[in-house]
């Protein structure tokens, strides 16, 4: 499911495969999540992530400056993914049980 309301997570996920500049981030996120982040939204999230030390510039200042994950950013992404995995596991289990119950009810 595309999480349009979580640009920082989308950016961290994109940078997990290597450094990217703004346009490359936008293209990559659209490719794997089906979400096209606007330039303002994307750079707002980049600024917050850099402020929190989760990403950092991977090259000198310029119009196409790339960013990369920091160790703290990778750790934050892992924590978020683990949390989401737990929700996915629990949600799937509950749906499966509900499916059985639903199937039983219909029968």
């Amino acid at each position: 499911m595309a999480r349009e309301n979580d640009p920082p997570l989308l950016i961290l996920t994109s940078l997990a495969s290597g450094p990217k500049h703004g346009y490359a981030l936008q293209q990559d996120i659209e490719a794997f999540a089906g979400v096209r982040l606007g330039p303002g939204t994307l750079y707002g999230a980049v600024a917050r992530l850099e402020e929190r030390g989760l990403i950092e510039p991977a090259g000198p200042a310029g119009r196409r400056r790339p960013y990369r994950l920091t160790a703290a950013g990778a750790e934050s992404l892992e924590t978020t993914i683990a949390s989401m995995r737990a929700i996915v596991t629990e949600g799937s289990a509950r749906l499966a049980r509900a499916g059985v119950a639903l199937a039983g009810g219909l029968a």
Partner: protein, 284 residues
């Protein structure tokens, strides 16, 4: 690009060029879609709110150091006023009443020297980041304020030499208000000094907004700004002691207008610098 100008100056200095490049690339060089425009306007509004609530820690340190530098510039102007007024205080003060004002005046001069060293140290600490900015093609972003400051300095140097050479040909009476032309040109030179001071302070703070300063340098800048605020407080106190002791000796009036204006300016600059330095230390 007008859209990018909606952002706060500090944010624009850091991300403006990248955001503009992304907007142009995402629009394939054509007309920027309304959806993109709306997204940027919304994001710029959020950044303005964020900046109003304090911005990032590096931005807060940078902003507080810039405020302290501006306060120092105002303090220097006030100090020049005190210096001008104090030119002949020793010869006008009875020998028995000179000890306390002399100690206060010495403290003022020494602390002024320390303050100048602190400012120079703060500038020196940013040189590697400035070099990195210039290597990365950042000169156009700081060209305007730096060029203006250089032009003012280049005008001030020959003007000062000319004024000094002229002054040597005049009598003491002519130098002290009895030559209208010299007085008028002296006042114009004073304005040029003021403009040069403002120009360099503006160049320094505008350049600092474009620099990527490492955390260690930001911490150093915050501490130097705090030390400068302390130096300003010491100088204000020393000036007050010097002034009060001379007033008690009957050498100067306790309500001398030039000293009142200079004293108030010193006090205001110190209060502003102390507040900003405190914010910078908390953010560093």
């Amino acid at each position: 690009m007008l859209l990018v100008r909606l952002y706060p100056a500090t944010w624009r200095a850091r991300y403006g060029a990248e955001l503009e490049a992304l907007i142009l690339e995402a629009s394939a060089g054509g007309r920027v879609p309304w959806r993109t425009r709306a997204d940027v306007v919304r994001a710029a509004a959020r950044e303005r709110v964020h900046a109003a609530l304090g911005g990032s820690a590096p931005d807060r340190v940078r902003a507080s150091a810039s405020v302290v530098l501006w306060a120092w510039a105002a303090f220097v102007v006030a100090g020049v006023g005190v210096q001008k007024y104090s030119e002949h205080w020793q010869s006008a003060t009875p020998a028995g009443s000179r000890e306390l004002p002399a100690a206060a005046f010495d403290a003022l001069v020494v602390t002024a020297g320390i303050g100048s060293v602190l400012v120079l140290a703060g500038i020196a600490a940013t040189v590697p980041s400035l070099a990195a900015l210039l290597r990365a093609g950042g000169w156009p972003r700081i060209r305007r304020p730096v060029t203006a400051a250089l032009v003012l300095a280049a005008t001030l140097v020959p003007a000062t030499i000319g004024l000094v050479l002229w002054a040597h040909r005049l009598t003491e009476a002519q130098r002290n208000g009895h030559d209208a032309l010299y007085t008028g040109i002296g006042a114009a030179w004073g304005l040029l000094v003021l403009a040069t001071l403002v120009g360099w302070t503006r160049a320094a703070t505008a350049t600092a907004a474009h620099l990527d300063l490492p955390p260690a340098v930001l911490r150093l800048e915050a501490r130097l700004a705090a030390a400068l605020a302390v130096a300003m407080a010491v100088m204000t106190a020393a000036t007050a002691v010097w002034w009060a002791s001379l007033a008690a000796a009957g050498t100067v009036s306790s309500l001398a207008p030039q000293l009142v204006v200079a004293g108030v300016l010193m006090l205001l600059a110190t209060v502003v610098a102390a507040g900003a330095a405190g914010r910078g230390l908390r953010a560093a």
